[in-house]
């Protein structure tokens, strides 16, 4: 785990949302953190370079734009795992992909601008890999709030 000081932690814990929409938003956030704007910009650059942050900016919900977001899984033979990972990840519609311990050992999220794009992406992955894709579209969302603070 990269070294994080108290200000880094504050940035991560307090600024997962609420970044202002105004002419000088970094200056405003820096003021609230008690640091200067350049310090904040340098910290964000470092946190991104160290992959502590994957991104800094808006998080979009594709469903609200008429698109679709579907969880899917494949049982990938171990010998082909790297090759299949490359094939699946090559699709821009694959937003995240995780290896998990289960017979279904590859779990990914497809995000497409139209609901029809999901079936297209699945057909493409099945034809590229020769493996069946199991789709688990959400039927109901009970809760979503992925805001985790830095573990002490």
């Amino acid at each position: 785990m990269p070294e994080l000081d108290a200000v880094d932690r504050q940035i991560i814990d307090q600024w997962q949302g609420g970044f202002p929409i105004c002419a000088s938003p970094y200056a405003e956030v820096a003021g609230q953190l008690g640091i200067v704007e350049d310090d904040l910009l340098q910290r964000l650059e470092r946190l991104l370079a160290d992959k502590v942050l994957t991104r800094f900016g808006p998080m979009y919900q594709i469903e609200r734009m008429g698109g679709a977001f579907v969880l899917a899984a494949i049982a990938v033979p171990e010998a082909r795992y790297e090759a299949v990972t490359a094939q699946v990840n090559a699709l821009p519609q694959v937003a995240h992909n995780y290896r998990r311990e289960h017979a279904l050992n590859m779990w990914f999220v497809l995000a497409t601008e139209t609901p029809g794009g999901i079936a297209e992406a699945i057909a493409r992955i099945e034809s590229d890999t020769g493996l069946p894709v199991h789709a688990f579209p959400k039927e109901r969302e009970y809760f979503v709030e992925m805001k985790l603070a830095v573990r002490q």
């Binding site: 785990m1 990269p2 994080l4 991560i12 600024w15 997962q16 949302g17 609420g18 929409i21 002419a23 938003p25 970094y26 910009l41 964000l44 650059e45 946190l47 991104l48 992959k51 502590v52 942050l53 994957t54 991104r55 900016g57 808006p58 998080m59 979009y60 919900q61 609200r64 734009m65 699946v88 990840n89 821009p92 519609q93 694959v94 937003a95 995240h96 992909n97 995780y98 290896r99 998990r100 311990e101 289960h102 590859m106 779990w107 995000a111 601008e113 199991h134 688990f136 579209p137 039927e139 109901r140 969302e141 009970y142 809760f143 979503v144 709030e145 992925m146 805001k147 985790l148 573990r151």
Partner: protein, 156 residues
């Protein structure tokens, strides 16, 4: 719904905001718009929920949440909505959904993501869910992630 200009703004910001003193002005320069137009449209996208939030997106492994478990549960269809609401209400559950089963291999219809800094912590949290579900839980599993293969987020 979004128009072509919203779409252009989404494409320009989906990798993140420019790390410069006036990021919305920088985007305006890139798009050939006024900064006011960029800010007005971002605010509208935020107000309508197309933007969930604006800020830091941490890599949860890098901030100490090294154990990531997808807990999955087979509960009766007629009770899943009531139970899903309760499981989603637990403070440590970050995502909770009802999803279709894929029988016979996959009997689970309720998914809840649970994080911790050890597998023991995740398993202890899964126990809390199991206790809450009680006799309604007919089968369950915890799928730990062992590697992030891709995490680019949405790309349009």
């Amino acid at each position: 719904m979004i128009d072509d200009l919203d779409r252009a703004l989404i494409v320009a910001t989906q990798d993140g905001l420019p790390l410069v003193a006036r990021p919305y002005h920088a985007l305006a320069g890139q798009l050939g718009w006024s900064a006011e137009e960029v800010m007005r449209r971002l605010q509208k996208l935020l107000d309508t929920g197309i933007i969930r939030r604006i800020g830091a997106v941490p890599n949860h492994y890098a901030i100490g949440w090294t154990a990531n478990g997808m807990t999955v549960w087979d509960v009766p269809d007629e009770r899943v909505d009531a139970l899903g609401a309760q499981v989603g209400g637990l403070e440590f559950v970050t995502h909770c959904y009802r999803r279709p089963r894929a029988l016979p291999a996959w009997p689970y219809n309720l998914f809840a993501m649970v994080h911790g800094n050890s597998r023991e912590e995740v398993r202890a949290k899964a126990e809390v869910i199991a206790h809450l579900l009680g006799e309604n839980c007919r089968a369950n599993d915890v799928l730990f992630s062992t590697r992030i293969l891709k995490k680019s987020g949405l790309r349009i």
